[in-house]
Amino acid sequence: MAHAPGVPAPASAPLHGQSPDLHWGDRVHLLPGERVVATCRFDLDAALRFTDGWIVLTDRRLIADPPAYSAAGVGAAAPRIWDLTATDRLDVHLRTAVGRIELSRDDAVIARWLFTPARAAAVHAVEDAFDARIHGSSAKANQPAESAGGGSVEPAALTVSRHDDDEDAEPGDAASRSWRALARVVPFARPHLAMTLLGIALSLASTAAALVPPYLTMPLIDDVLVPRQSGQPVPFWWVWWYLGLLLLAAVAAWLLAWAQSWTLAWVSERVAADLRVRVYAHMQSLSLDFFSGRRTGDLMSRVATDTERLNVFLSVSLVEFVSNVLMAVFTIAVLFWINPTVAMLTVVPFPLVVFVVAVVRDRMRRGFSRVSVVSADMQSVLADTIPGIRVVKAFAQEAREVERFAAANERVLDAGDRLNAVWSFFSPFVGFCTEIGVLIVWAAGAMLVFRDAVTVGGLTAFLAYITRFYGRVESLVRMVPSTQRAAAAAERIFEILDTKATVAEAPRPIRPGRVRGRIEVSGVHFRYGAREILHGIDLVIEPGEMIGLVGTSGSGKSTLANLICRFYDPSSGSIRVDGHDLRDLSITDYRRNLGCVLQEPFLFFGSVADNIAYGRPDAGRDEIVEAARAAGAHDFILALPAAYDSRVGERGGSLSGGERQRLSIARALLVEPRILVLDEATSSVDVETEAVIQAAIDRLVLGRTTIAIAHRLSTLRRANRLVVLDAGSIVETGTHDELLAADGVYARLYRAQLRAAEEAAATV
């Protein structure tokens, strides 16, 4: 319910301006025959305080409450009414968070209300209704539908899969490989050596402390309880004495275990964190061909999920593992020290357990590997379809994608089931074996007691130790799945760390600083897998020249551009820049001289300013604005809700294709590259935007050596030279006019493209 300023709100008024209904009926009396055309709410008063007001537009009048600002000052407590005349205008102005509704008569504003974007929809509806009423025009025509973004074919996406024939097989079988992978994690603890040693020392101490109590039960039984039972007089306080010692030992064991656990967990978390960063950093250093052969989901799974599995193993299971191993070893040592014969009997079932563990471990390792792989597959489905959701929806393939995901999910389920089948047999079997072990000890021990070779106390202590020993063994056995899972994860992680970049930095790279931009391509062949894409390319590009690469798809244009960017190295031949072979130059220094404008501009999740400055994070604000102006992006950026600080989504979701293109151009401009690679979008934008983008590109190519994979007719005409590729070889070069006159491959392509453009224009 609206209430005028100065009037205390009725008790039933909701907080936060949420009232759902517009109860203006009892405050306004409609004239006979008057009809309500539209209503809206506004939520700011003249002092920019949140309020709740409404505007009612009828076919004769405009009624508002509270009256808000008008030329005459703050209104009275009753709703204000304006009888509308033909010359009245209602303007709505919304650019920032404060919107204005202005009623003007004879070009003078007579009333104004303020609102936030939350009320925008209804306000615009009132504005449209007002226009329709006064001018008889229909609602504002919609903006021309945004043309679909161009296909996002990455320049480097070659569909031929790599041949594995030259991959070296790592020595050793799969099992030892994964254990070795786990062992390779150990050096990561070196930076934390002191804490690690402390952890180990605490482990030894806490294990020793835990071994004391059973030893103390021996004298308690043999020297106190048994004699008492047989009638000898024994002072009771001996019991307290032994119990006191037992309690002390228990407390010591507890405190030491606590310290051990904390210390080792501390080290493990840090090791895992270091590993995560190392994996990601190494991945960043790898060349493009590593990524083009992989699925995003798989890589993400390795950096995120596999490192997490390893992390959990290290900080939780490892501590347990260490304690169990130590305890088992120490216990056996003590057993042998007490009575070697019975100790020997104790360990009889042990070899059987070890054998079964070995068999099962192998199955489990394979099982875990398979689970890892199918889980990564499942994640790949997500990584494919979620970023590309637009394509999924455009082609109405949602059901099929769900099926695909469900199938991958089934495979995960299946792999899990197989693993569990092995495990559900194994674990109880080990329990059974240990029971047998204990039985054997009872039997042997009883025989020895009958022969007076062992006291009851001794036997009791023995049994306590045995139980502990097998308890630890069982615990270790229970840990096999998590160790295997961690080993499999470690293997996948080290697979990345072991990959070397194919585009390798030279041992003593030349640092070219700013290059002049003279490019010489000599006899370059490029093979990818089994296919040869480029068959001997020779080309010289002078500094500042603009070259247009033309040809049908698959002719090698993108590949040549990629080679010049040194995303790949040629299979034979060389590419020189300013006389230096690319392979001798420092990769980062050379790339700093490059600017790229790709077909499908990729915008990171960040502000507009951050995206423009991506290639030069230290750029000043004025440089960013300068680049945006030159790219023709400045005006639309100012129109965004937070101007340069507005956040853009993963794929620049809230911006149109033309706007993303211009941001991409601004990004390239800011870097001031000496060599520019321009992969033109094949999609079309409206004529006005096209002109702006063309002007931006003109500014961009000025004075820079430019390699443009050209589609625009204007680019083709502007280029100093056109290079026509066909099936990996250069077939023609020359200017646009020369090539047309020569009436060869280019002329054919050009005429075909013209025809297609004309047909497209004709069907609009």
């Binding site: 907080l15 936060h16 003078a108």
Partner: protein
């Protein structure tokens, strides 16, 4: 009938252009050649990362009319006019108290700000930006920004509700 407009305030700039705030509250821009642009807007180019930085004057149709690198260097009469206009057009409420946050998606927040009580919807955690100095900015589904100067000072309940969202 045309009435001569009463110019409530006029301020000239060093660049030869001037801004005029009319009686009815609208802002006009007169460029160095004397051309008048009506109903212009004043806005900050970097409202979040550099509020004391560049200011743009933009025409009703969207084109940029003037650019000032910073308000600091602007002569007083123009500067106070610009600052007054910016204050009237910008609205970044400061959240003083969070009363409730719903569990739905988008979550509905009910808060009390320095401009009064307010309810708005937030899409997801990505729309909440936390900074090292303990402040946070929340952007709602229609693009409005709300600022929390110090999350720690929100009070126990408010802090709990905030952390739930993040």
């Amino acid at each position: 009938m045309t009435t001569p407009r009463a110019h409530a305030t006029t301020a000239r700039s060093a660049g030869g252009w001037s801004l005029e705030r009319r009686d009815d509250g609208r802002l006009d821009f007169v460029d160095a050649q004397g051309r008048r642009h009506e109903n212009v807007d004043v806005l900050r180019a970097f409202p979040v990362s550099a509020p004391e930085g560049p200011v743009a004057i933009v025409a009703d149709s969207g084109g940029e009319l003037a650019w000032l690198d910073a308000l600091a260097g602007v002569e007083p009469p123009l500067r106070s006019l610009l600052e007054a206009e910016l204050a009237a057009r910008e609205l970044v409420p400061v959240i003083e108290r969070i009363d409730s946050v719903s569990d739905s998606e988008p979550a509905e927040w009910c808060v009390v700000t320095d401009h009064g009580p307010r309810a708005f919807k937030v899409r997801h955690a990505d729309d909440i930006a936390r900074r090292d100095d303990g402040s946070a900015t929340v952007t709602d589904t229609v693009g409005m920004r709300y600022v929390i100067p110090d999350v720690a000072k929100l009070g126990t309940q408010g802090r709990r509700l905030f952390e739930k969202m993040v």
